[in-house]
């Protein structure tokens, strides 16, 4: 994680990875760049957090990987979400929505 960016809540990295891979399968480097871009540099995931997360999700069968040739002709490992990954993503989004709603309600109190 970057020193300038806010800390990721524990457990949210998996949710972020699943969501982004669902919208577009990609390799680890591109995924890290997309996270930074979409969050407008608010979130920056380093390799030390990203790759363990990717391998963890792959071991749990939530994402799958295959080797492809990128646009620049380089061989890269592209990850995509599996059916069980989509199901897990739905569940985690619901959990996060509940949590966010509850937190929001608390923060609104004076």
């Amino acid at each position: 994680m970057s020193a300038k960016s806010p800390s990721l809540l524990q457990g949210t990295l998996d949710l972020i990875v699943l969501q982004l891979l669902k919208s577009e399968p990609t390799n680890g480097y591109e995924l890290a760049q997309r996270i930074e871009a979409i969050s407008r540099e608010a979130l920056s995931i380093n390799a030390g957090s990203l790759y363990p997360a990717l391998y963890r999700l792959e071991a749990r069968d939530l994402i799958s990987a295959k080797w492809e040739e990128s646009k620049t002709g380089r061989r890269v490992k592209v990850y995509s979400v599996t059916a069980s990954g989509r199901k897990e993503l739905t569940e985690q989004r619901d959990e996060w929505a509940k949590f966010a709603g509850a937190l929001s309600a608390i923060l609104k109190t004076t």
């Binding site: 790759y51 069968d61 080797w67 890269v76």
Partner: protein, 890 residues
């Protein structure tokens, strides 16, 4: 993760590890290259861009480690690393490794061999019978405890067969018969025969190796005598070359001609008879061959059968039990009660057990509890000796590695990690020992199956058991040393290297003491066994040349009640005595009396002598009149037995000079009286002669009683003028002509008999000695390790002592006495264990106590002797320490 996911992760970790590593490396390299391309696009040089990309990525090795943890199956990597480390360590310490391997091999291999023999006896059907849980044995019992076994009557068998709990019932009755194959060159053979119901082999599920089998198939067919026979496999091969060649051949069984219609499956025997002769004859032929009445089939009083059965589907031993018990009670009530004086017929009962062990002595595992417990105790003893040896060596090894372990702890390795590493090393050794043990077991298995009719557990069953024992041994012997090795941190280790070592070597000393203590009862038992067995192998021959003595033994059981059998022996003797080259024919009983205690009478002058209470254990030998003269044994005083002795009010006995020396302390012997208790009566024995002690007689066989002419002799000792081997064909012809129903079991010279016995005895004693000495050797290896470790640890101290003027002999004495102290402690702890095992041997096995003290003393001296050598060697090394070298090295 789902089960499928877990399995996939495991498989990937184990089978695709290299590919996964390669891909991870490639992926991270690609990430760095892509980042570098981004920096190049911003205007950096390629070199700077790569440097920046690597910096941005982070510590590649650390990230890869974290990624491996996330991937799963990490334990496989750890195990591989631990095994590689263990192998490197073994290569650095070859002597210790080989010793530990050897100990593991013995412990695990010994256990595997014991298991492989006991498991079939307790849990499998007899040899040659397919393993089928529905096979049972129906046993007749009687007596209040139901532990006296009786045979069943034929009507009982038929009744059992009619019950729905059984799918089929077969009966068999054992007998020894005389078989004449009619080839002319062979003696009459003594054969173990079972008269069986025609469905016998079907019930067993045993497929014949050759031939169609019995003609009749009905289980209750007995009216028409079927004169056929099924022979055992070994007999068929020995007599006819192949099983198929035996079919159609004929033989005379007790003089009745029968035809061979089948050959039994390999290894099927009803009882290991020590010979390759087992016959199965249809029960319908029993009256004709045994010359008995057919009433045996109709009467409940003729109880002569045993029974096997196959349970019907859905039935169990528990459901069959009340059925057989009710039937047995009904038959008992129908039998005419026999009242003879005070005795009554015990109430008859029956039970059902799974068919295990062998066919003639079926027993339930619960009934062999004591036997099984003894085997388990022996098993545990072997395992304990081996694990204490291994533990002792591992503790020593751990002490020498304390610096290495301390450093690893300081670098961040957890205690669990190091204990796991040390346990892995022990496990690798245990598995290697297990593989060696299994190879050893394979050799033993071949030996057992070839020489004895012993069914051995299946290889897979044994492999499973061996693996379990190996794991157990590794944990038992490796855990304690591993925990001790990791107790101290580096600071403690560096601060005071000897303190921790002292506590660890204390543990090692405890193990060594335990080994020496445990080795003693094992050694003592083995030596007693060897002495006991050696007594069985000697034949008394006096001063006569063994090449001029011939032994002929008849099978009395086979000949009993048959015409042309035992009653022809006097005629055989007369013909032999008139044969050229024969000097004397001495009839003998085949066996001596069982061991008996006699009491020495007090020396009263006049009046009746009364038993004084001193008891002497003897094994009287039965001999005929004229024996000592025929055998050139000198009569030192008194006389030989005479015919008039049969009318004596006392039982005349003759004793040897050794008996006079040992029991009577060389006092007057002629006329001395002894008492022998026979049930409620007291038999009075009186010495009528003293003879010179014979070579070849056991210590217990120093008393002789007259062979009563009422008892038919069952063996002949023939003294010849010419070499006895030349007379053998003549003897064979005479026996065959005079007694066609009398099988000859032994016909060989005493010299040949002694050679055979020495060979058998040699094999048994070598095996026993190997076992005992190996145990002792292992204990002494441990002792050597303890003293050598102490020498290594105290090198500096020794250097200082020698520098200050200590003599070499003083240093030698210091370490030698310390090591000897350990062996003496082990010896004293082992003495009560030895006494217990000897007591069990005397009471349970019947071994004589006469040699036990002597053997215990010899074993103790041997243990001290070998332990002294094991202690002296490293002590001598200590005495030769150069003080300059020792002090400079520290």
């Amino acid at each position: 993760m789902s089960v499928y996911g877990e399995a996939r992760a495991w498989l990937r970790a184990v089978m695709l590890r290299r590919r996964a590593e390669r891909e991870m490396h490639e992926e991270m390299t690609a990430h760095i290259e892509q980042a570098a391309a981004r920096f190049v696009a911003r205007g950096m040089s390629e070199r700077d861009a790569l440097h920046a990309a690597r910096k941005e990525f982070g510590n590649v090795a650390l990230i890869q480690e974290r990624s491996r943890d996330s991937r799963g199956g990490r334990w496989v990597d750890n195990l591989r690393a631990d095994v590689r480390y263990a192998l490197r360590h073994f290569a650095r310490t070859p002597l210790t490794t080989i010793t530990i391997l050897f100990a593991m091999l013995l412990g695990v291999g010994g256990n595997a061999a014991l298991y492989s023999v006991m498991q079939p006896l307790l849990f499998r059907t007899p040899p040659g019978v397919p393993n089928d849980p529905s096979l049972v044995m129906i046993r007749g019992t009687e007596g209040p405890s139901g532990r006296i076994y009786r045979e069943l009557s034929y009507p009982e068998l038929l009744d059992f067969a009619a019950q729905s709990v059984f799918a089929a019932v077969a009966g068999f009755r054992a007998a020894d018969v005389a078989v004449d194959l009619g080839s002319g060159a062979e003696d009459i053979l003594s054969v173990r025969t079972n008269y069986v119901t025609p469905n016998f082999f079907n019930v067993l599920g045993a497929k014949l190796a050759a031939g169609p089998g019995f003609m009749e198939t009905r289980y209750d067919a007995h009216e028409l005598a079927e004169l056929t026979v099924v022979v055992d496999y070994k007999f068929a091969v020995k007599q006819f070359g192949t099983p198929a060649a035996a079919i159609g051949k004929t033989a005379r069984v007790n003089g009745v001609l029968v035809t061979i219609v089948g050959v039994a499956p390999k290894r099927l025997v009803t009882m290991p008879h020590g010979a390759d002769r087992n016959f199965w004859i249809p029960v319908s032929a029993l009256p004709a061959i045994e010359h008995t009445s057919a009433n045996i089939f109709a009467s409940d009083d003729s109880s002569a059968f045993r029974s096997i059965a196959r349970l019907a589907e859905g039935q169990t031993v528990v459901s069959a039990m009340p059925v057989v018990r009710n039937l047995a009670a009904r038959h008992f009530a129908a039998r005419a009660p026999v009242q003879t004086g005070a005795s009554k017929v015990q109430k008859a009962d029956a039970d059902v057990i799974r068919l295990r062990g062998n066919l003639e002595v079926g027993s339930d595992p619960s009934e062999t509890l004591w036997g099984a417990a003894a085997v388990v105790a022996l098993d545990l003893l072997i395992l304990l000796v081996c694990t204490t040896t291994v533990s002792s060596l591992l503790v020593g090894a751990a002490v020498t590695r304390r610096h290495e372990i301390g450093i690893r702890l300081a670098l961040g390795a957890s205690r669990v990690r190091i204990v796991r590493q040390l346990l892995t090393e022990t496990l690798v050794l245990a598995l290697a020992g297990a593989i060696g043990g299994l190879l050893l077991f394979t050799v033993i298995r071949r030996l057992l199956e070839a020489r004895m009719e012993v069914e051995v557990a299946s290889p897979w069953s044994t492999v499973g058991f061996t693996a379990a024992v190996a794991l157990f041994t590794a944990l038992l012997s490796g855990l304690s040393p591993a925990l001790h090795a990791t107790r101290q941190g580096l600071a403690q280790v560096l601060k005071n290297s000897s303190a921790g070592a002292t506590s660890r070597s204390r543990l090692q000393r405890v193990f060594v003491i335990a080994q020496i203590a445990l080795a003693q009862p094992l050694l003592v038992s083995l030596v007693m066994f060897m002495i006991f067995v050696s007594g069985e192998f000697r034949t008394a021959q006096g001063k006569v040349d063994a090449e001029r003595l011939l032994v002929v033994r008849f099978d009395a059981w086979s000949a009993r009640g048959k015409t042309g059998g035992l009653e022809r022996i006097p005629a055989i003797i007369r013909r032999l005595e008139s044969t050229a080259g024969v000097r004397a024919v001495i009839p003998q009983s085949a066996n001596s009396f069982p061991r008996t205690y006699i009491e020495l009478a007090s020396a009263n002058v006049g009046g009746a002598a009364s038993p004084s209470g001193t008891r002497v254990q003897v094994m009287p030998a039965e001999i005929p009149s004229g024996y000592f003269r025929a055998m050139d044994v000198e009569v030192l005083s008194g006389r030989e037995f005479i015919v008039a002795d049969s009318a004596s009010p006392f039982t005349p006995i003759i004793v040897s000079s050794r008996f006079v020396h040992d029991v009577l302390e060389d006092g007057p012997a002629i006329g001395r009286r002894f008492y022998r208790r026979i049930g409620p009566w007291m038999d009075t024995l009186q010495i009528v002669g003293v003879v010179a002690a014979e070579h070849g007689r056991d210590n217990l066989e120093q008393m002789f009683m007259r062979l009563r002419t009422m008892r038919r002799p069952e063996a002949l000792l023939i003294r010849t003028i010419v070499p006895a081997a030349s007379v053998i064909p003549t003897v064979r012809n005479i026996v065959r002509n005079e007694a066609p129903m009398l099988p000859v079991v032994t016909l060989e010279t005493v010299a040949q008999q002694n050679r055979n016995s020495r060979s058998d005895f040699f094999q048994i004693s070598m095996a026993s000695a190997a076992g005992g000495l190996t145990t002792l050797l292992l204990g002494c290896v441990g002792l050597y390790a303890v003293v050598a470790l102490a020498v290594g640890q105290r090198k500096r101290e020794i250097g200082i002592r020698v520098a200050l003027g200590a003599q070499q002999s003083q240093v030698l004495e210091l370490f030698f006495l310390n090591g000897l102290k350990l062996s003496l402690i082990g010896l004293f702890i082992g003495l009560p264990l030895s006494a217990t095992s000897l007591h069990l041997l005397a009471t349970q096995v019947g071994m004589p106590r006469s040699n036990m003290m002597f053997v215990t003393a010899i074993v103790a001296l041997m243990v001290i002797g070998v332990a002294s050598i094991a202690t002296w060697l490293p002590a001598r090394k200590a005495a030769n320490v150069d003080p300059l070298v020792a002090l400079r090295a520290e």
